[in-house]
Amino acid sequence: MSAIDPAFTALPIPSPAASSRSIARRILGRAARSTEFRIGLALFAILLLAAAVYPELSGIDPTKMDVRARLLPPLFMGDKWSWAHPLGTDQIGRDMLVRSVVGLRYSFLIGVASVAVTLLIGCVLGAVAGYFGGRVDTLAMRVTDAQLSIPMIILAIAVLGVSRPTIPAIILVLGLSNWPVYARVMRSVVMAERGREYVRAAQVSGATHARIILTLLIPLLAPPILLTSILDVARMMIFESTLGFLGLGVQPPTPTFGNIIADGRKYLLNAWWIATMPGVFLCLTLTSINLIGAAFERARNTIYGGV
């Protein structure tokens, strides 16, 4: 790596004061200093808090319907709005705010869990393929191709048809149908890394392949992949609504963004807020996580990059 400019490599050793803290804490500290991180965190905290306590605190049951007060618009819109329902009500008179935040809970659960499944399968398979190469690689990549070529909808019909469309089944379907992306990315980065000398050093120190993959490569390569997977959390939450659209979504009365959007779609012309609110919450959640993630990434790069 002789391209690295000696001017940069010869930085003075950081003062002992800085180095007394562990790297993770330094990254956290640096990230926490950025405005974006604070905005993101504040937003995320508000959403999290709302999702955690608002339904219980307000005492409003997300499944409690009031047919006579249905399709009330959000605050200050039209002339039927009421303080009791700040974001209006849905087609059977349930409070949109409480449904949105409870929906956020379930959708976030679905999004995060299915991305976790995706990451688990994708990263492990990709890492194994990239690390060992050769036949293992060919086999793993063709399995990936095969998975890629099965349309998600077929998988969804099959799996969700066999079991009732419960949340775990939906997580499984979404997770199973999206891992190839990560397998490919992971494979290519692991392939680049496995030739590096520190991997060899670890082998010579006696570390097993599993140990190298798990303790050296995954911690190194996972964070950027995690960051990119944030978009996928949102995508999964949207995919869940596609399943709802096909009648394969989470069954009522459990509110998820997916079924709120899918059901509210019919009312888009008259009651735009039903299908739109989850989208707004989704966008806010995504943006807040993205802001935090981006601040972390920058902090990581600063600490690791030394510049």
Partner: protein, 525 residues
């Protein structure tokens, strides 16, 4: 699917003499001349797909019946208006007369030609009746198989239907005449798999041109006996999604769309270019109990469930898509009456019934599954959720399963040992005033259609009303015995009567729409 018209010989047996009350009005089948003058073809967006087999006796599909409504001729039409459900309007027939309980004489017009040029004669009616009543025809809505029928043709324009071999009353053909499309004897001679399946050939105002993907193309028929329609053609399209249909109407691509959501009615009303047509339909929506398995094999549990449901809330939810009714048939059907003992929302009675059945406050009841569909009828999922929560409020343990139509359809019907789940949502629509198309189909022990109820008392009452000698007598039995009996045993709960809502471009105002959804667009030029 929705339009499950009975295929069995429901009106079989029992002679009776009936004198039908014919109304000699010809509803003014108007459409605005503004639209007609524009010379545009009418684009109709249907919510339901068709079968692809053009033989009218091969299917029971409502959308295809609607197409037949444009293309085919009928002996009579039944406007089925709320104020007079039994009204009949002559079309191909000029007179229908019961000669004796087993002989019905039908006089025909003599100025009609089929679209392929063949003149319409008595042989066509004979061929239609004889072919349609064959036991292998899938859409079995004749009272008996062909061998029980004798059809005489005293002259080219008179038909006498003789049911004496079958032993059932001939008056059953009066209501049937209004929804049996008359086919050409030449086509019928081609037999199953012949020209009948390939295309439609009728005497209606529009002739069939071709099927182009999901669009059925019809063109105005020059030789229509009331004169060539002003609209040059109709394009009948299947578009599954209601929002899509609405958007299409709003941007002017569609002329008329069906099955509006009530909220969409608001939208249309706010749009100066559009108008709506609402008509109380022949279709009631039911909550079917699986009567052959616990706990709903106990009428008290069924009744408890019925008392737990506040139907006024469901109607609120449906808005203009629902019409309050308190009977097992639609108010536009023969024999309808608001039943005094129809179960109303009453938590106390519900609890009392539950306690009586041995499930005080629902304790001891198994978890129940309520199956409904989404995407076909308006608001099934919404009111399904409401009903689920109302039942749960009274101590039932109900979970709602929402299925897309194909899966729901597969789960719908009774099977030996009872069908899937414990309650199913489904509507029943028959394009005829005949009430037995519902009552007997569903509640007679021999049928087991959905609820699978077997009850000797109900059977006896159903037989009694069918065998009544006259329509008046039959009406009385229906209204005072059969229907109240059903309301006390509730093998199902009729929730409300659907309102068929169409929206159209304003220049189509006045188009006549029948309660089964078929449309008269035949205004002469």
């Amino acid at each position: 699917m929705a339009d499950m018209i009975d295929r069995r010989r429901i009106l079989l047996g029992g002679a009776a003499v009936a004198g039908a009350g014919f109304v000699q009005i010809n509803p003014d089948f108007l459409i605005s001349s503004a639209y007609a003058q524009s010379g545009k073809e009418m684009v109709f967006l249907s919510a339901e797909n068709i079968t692809g087999n053009w033989d009218p006796t091969a299917h029971t599909t409502l959308s295809q019946k609607n197409i037949e409504g444009y293309v085919m001729g009928f002996l009579t039409r039944t406007p089925m208006k709320l104020e007079d459900p039994g009204a009949v309007v002559y079309e191909l027939a000029t007179d229908i007369k019961l000669l004796d309980p087993h002989r019905l004489q039908i006089k025909l017009r003599n100025d009609i030609v089929f679209h392929d040029g063949k003149p319409f004669k008595a042989e066509d009616v004979k061929a239609t009746f004889e072919y349609g009543s064959k036991p292998d025809r899938p859409a079995q809505w004749y009272p008996g198989p062909s061998e029980t029928l004798t059809i005489e043709m005293p002259d080219d324009y008179t038909v006498i239907v003789d049911t004496s071999k079958g032993g059932y009353p001939a008056h059953l053909f009066i209501f049937l005449a209004s929804f049996l499309p008359i086919m050409s004897a030449k086509d019928v001679a081609g037999g199953p798999g012949g020209p009948l399946t390939q295309r439609l050939n009728g005497t209606g105002p529009f002739k069939f041109v071709e099927q182009r993907g999901n669009a059925t193309i019809l063109a105005a028929f020059d030789g229509y006996f009331r004169g060539k329609p002003a609209i040059p053609g109709i394009s009948f399209n299947f578009v599954g999604d209601s929002t899509t249909r609405m958007l299409s109407l709003m941007n002017g691509q569609a002329s008329i769309v069906e099955r509006l959501e009530p909220e969409q009615v608001e939208t249309v009303k706010g749009n100066p270019k559009l108008t709506t047509n609402e008509v109380v339909s022949v279709e009631n929506k039911y909550l079917w109990f699986r009567c052959s398995k616990p706990p709903f094999n106990d009428p008290r549990v069924r009744l408890a469930a019925c008392h737990a449901i506040d139907r006024s809330l469901i109607l609120d939810l449906l808005g203009s898509a629902g019409h309050a009714s308190a009977n097992y048939v639609s108010p536009v059907k023969f024999g309808y009456v608001d039943l005094k003992n129809y179960p109303a929302f009453d938590p106390d009675k519900c609890q009392a019934m539950l306690a009586e059945a041995g499930f005080p406050k629902g304790a001891g009841l198994p978890p129940l599954e309520y199956i409904t569909s989404v995407g076909f009828y308006p608001k099934t999922k919404e009111y399904g959720e409401v009903i689920t929560s109302m039942l749960n409020d009274q101590g039932f343990k109900v979970s709602l399963t929402v299925l897309e139509p194909a899966a729901w359809n597969e789960q719908l019907y009774h099977r030996p040992g009872g069908g899937p789940g414990h309650m199913v949502d489904c509507g029943w629509s028959t394009g005829s005033p005949e009430p037995d198309l519902i009552l007997r189909t569903h509640f007679h022990s021999s049928s087991h259609r959905i609820c699978g109820v077997e009850d000797a008392e109900i059977d006896a009452s159903l037989d009694k009303e069918r065998n009544a000698a006259t329509l008046e007598e039959r009406k009385t039995i229906l209204q005072t015995e059969t229907m109240p009996l059903l309301a006390s045993k509730v093998p199902a709960l009729s929730l409300f009567t659907s309102v068929m809502i169409h929206a159209m471009q304003k220049d189509l105002t006045g188009l006549y729409i029948y309660p089964d959804g078929s449309i008269d667009a035949s205004k002469p030029a």
